[in-house]
C-alpha cells in the first residue's frame, strides 16, 4: 500500500507519462477512488501542458492531408447516439421520473460556473431574461414531493441559466445535476447539461439543439453520465 506521499510522487510522474504501465494502472485506480488525487493529477497535467505550450512550435500548421484524414475517419465513425428510451410527448415531469434517463453523451459545462461568481451570474441571467427571443420556463416538483419551483431562462444561442437558489442544500458528497431534453428524431434525447453543486444559486448551461425539457436530479458529487434518480424538478414543453 502506497503512502500519500508516494502516491503524490507517482502522480507527478504520471502527468509526464514517465511511469511504467503497471504503475500507471495503480495511479488510475487511486485517482478513481480519491477526488483530491484526481485534482492533483489535473493540476500537474496543466503544468505539463503549459510547458508544451511555452516552447517554440516545432512545426507549422498541419498539412491539409491531416484534416482530410480526419474527415474521412469521422465519416465512418459518428459519435454513438442514444438508443431506446421513451418518446417524449405531452406529458408531465412525473413521466420523466418513471424512466431511467438514458444519456449517451454527458458533457459537463460546470467550468463555466467556476469562472463566474454568483453576482455576475445573476446579472447575466437577468440580462438574458430581458432578451426578446429568450424564454423562461418553470421547473416544478412532483407529486409526493415537497413542491420545488426553479426558473430557467434559455436564449436562442443555447446559453441558459437556471436559478436554483430554491433548492435545499445537499450533503457535500451529493450534487444537483441538470438535464436537457433535446428534440431529435426519432426520439428526443436526454443529455447532461452540467452539475450544479450541492448548494447552487444561479448556474449557467449551454445546450445545443432545440430544448424541449429540463430536469434536475440529485446525484453523487461529480455527477453521473446516466441518472436513475427521480427528478426533483422538471419542465417539459407542450408537444
Amino acid at each position: 500500500m502506497r503512502t500519500a506521499d508516494e502516491m503524490q510522487e507517482l502522480i507527478a510522474l504520471y502527468s509526464l507519462d514517465a511511469l511504467e504501465h503497471a504503475e500507471r494502472l495503480e495511479v488510475d485506480a487511486a485517482v478513481a477512488a480519491d477526488a483530491s488525487l484526481l485534482r492533483e493529477l489535473d493540476e500537474m497535467r496543466a503544468v505539463a501542458a503549459a510547458l508544451a505550450d511555452a516552447v517554440e512550435p516545432a512545426t507549422d500548421v498541419p498539412s491539409p492531408a491531416v484534416w482530410r484524414g480526419i474527415q474521412a475517419e469521422i465519416a465512418t465513425g459518428r459519435p454513438a447516439q442514444p438508443t431506446g428510451g421513451r418518446r417524449w410527448g405531452i406529458g408531465t415531469f412525473m413521466a420523466l421520473a418513471a424512466v431511467v434517463i438514458a444519456v449517451a453523451l454527458a458533457v459537463r459545462v460546470g467550468n463555466l460556473q467556476r469562472e463566474l461568481d454568483s453576482v455576475e451570474l445573476t446579472r447575466l441571467a437577468e440580462a438574458k431574461m430581458t432578451e426578446p427571443s429568450a424564454f423562461v420556463v418553470t421547473l416544478g416538483g412532483g407529486a409526493g414531493q415537497e413542491e420545488t419551483v426553479v426558473e430557467a431562462v434559455i436564449g436562442p444561442d443555447g446559453v441558459g441559466y437556471v436559478m436554483a437558489g430554491a433548492l435545499p442544500a445537499l450533503p457535500a458528497d451529493r450534487t444537483y445535476q441538470l438535464w436537457a431534453i433535446v428534440a431529435a428524431e426519432p426520439e428526443p434525447r436526454v443529455v447532461s447539461a452540467g452539475v450544479l453543486g450541492n448548494d447552487p444559486s444561479v448556474a449557467p448551461f449551454q445546450a445545443v439543439g432545440e430544448i424541449v425539457g429540463l430536469a434536475i436530479t440529485a446525484e453523487v458529487a461529480g455527477g453521473v453520465p446516466v441518472s436513475e434518480g427521480e427528478p426533483i424538478a422538471a419542465w417539459l414543453a407542450d408537444a
Binding site: 510522474l13 503544468v47 501542458a49 510547458l51 508544451a52 516545432a58 458533457v107 459545462v109 460546470g110 453520465p225
Partner: protein
C-alpha cells in the same frame, strides 16, 4: 452591432457530441498546430506526428465525453492526450531501435542535449523563469521525461542517478512549477 463572441471550447465539444463537423473544424483550427507541434517535438518525425494529430481529433469526435471541462481546459486535455499517444509510439520505436542496435543493424543515435534544446526554445518568459528557478537536476529530469518521452527509470539510467532520486526531483520540480505557474495564471485552477 458587435460581433457575437466565439463559442467556448466547452460549447464546441458539446456541439461535436451532436456530430457537428463545423465545431470539430473550429477546434482543429484552434488547437491543431499545438497538437502537431508537441507530437513533432517528441517523435521528431513529421509523418508520425501528423498521424497522431489525426488520431487525437478523430478520438475527440468519437469519444467527446472523455473531455470533462470541470477537470481543465480542452487544450490541456488535447496536449495530454497527444503526449501520451506520442510517448507510446516513441517507446515502441525506441524498443525497435534497441533491438536493431543489439543485432548490429543500426548505430546508436547521437545523444541529444534536450535540456538546452528546450530552454532555448521557450518563448514564454514566465515559463522560462519558472524553469530557470528549478535546480539543474530537477530541470534536467523533467525535460528528459516530458520532452524526451522517457520513463523515470530511463531518465535515471541516462543520468546515472538512483531511480528514487529522479522520482523525487521530478516531483519536487513539478510542485515548484505548479506553484510558479499557478501564481502567474498559466496553470492551476
Amino acid at each position: 452591432m458587435a460581433d457575437a463572441p466565439s463559442p467556448s471550447d466547452a460549447a464546441l465539444v458539446v456541439a461535436v457530441a451532436r456530430a457537428d463537423e463545423a465545431a470539430l473544424s473550429t477546434l482543429y483550427e484552434r488547437h491543431g498546430s499545438a497538437v502537431l507541434s508537441l507530437a513533432t517535438r517528441l517523435l521528431r518525425r513529421r509523418d508520425l506526428a501528423e498521424e497522431v494529430t489525426q488520431e487525437i481529433f478523430t478520438r475527440l469526435w468519437t469519444r467527446p465525453e472523455r473531455f470533462d471541462p470541470a477537470r481543465g481546459a480542452l487544450r490541456t486535455f488535447l496536449l495530454s492526450d497527444t503526449h501520451g499517444r506520442s510517448v507510446d509510439l516513441l517507446r515502441s520505436e525506441l524498443a525497435r531501435r534497441a533491438r536493431e542496435e543489439r543485432e548490429g543493424r543500426m548505430a546508436p543515435p547521437a545523444p541529444r542535449d534536450l535540456e538546452s534544446e528546450v530552454m532555448t526554445s521557450v518563448t514564454n518568459e514566465r515559463v522560462r523563469r519558472a524553469l530557470a528557478a528549478l535546480s539543474d537536476g530537477e530541470r534536467e529530469a523533467i525535460t528528459l521525461a516530458y520532452f524526451g518521452g522517457y520513463s523515470y527509470r530511463e531518465v535515471a539510467e541516462q543520468l546515472g542517478a538512483p531511480e528514487g532520486t529522479i522520482k523525487s526531483r521530478i516531483r519536487m520540480g513539478m510542485q515548484r512549477l505548479k506553484g510558479e505557474l499557478t501564481a502567474v495564471g498559466i496553470a492551476g485552477s
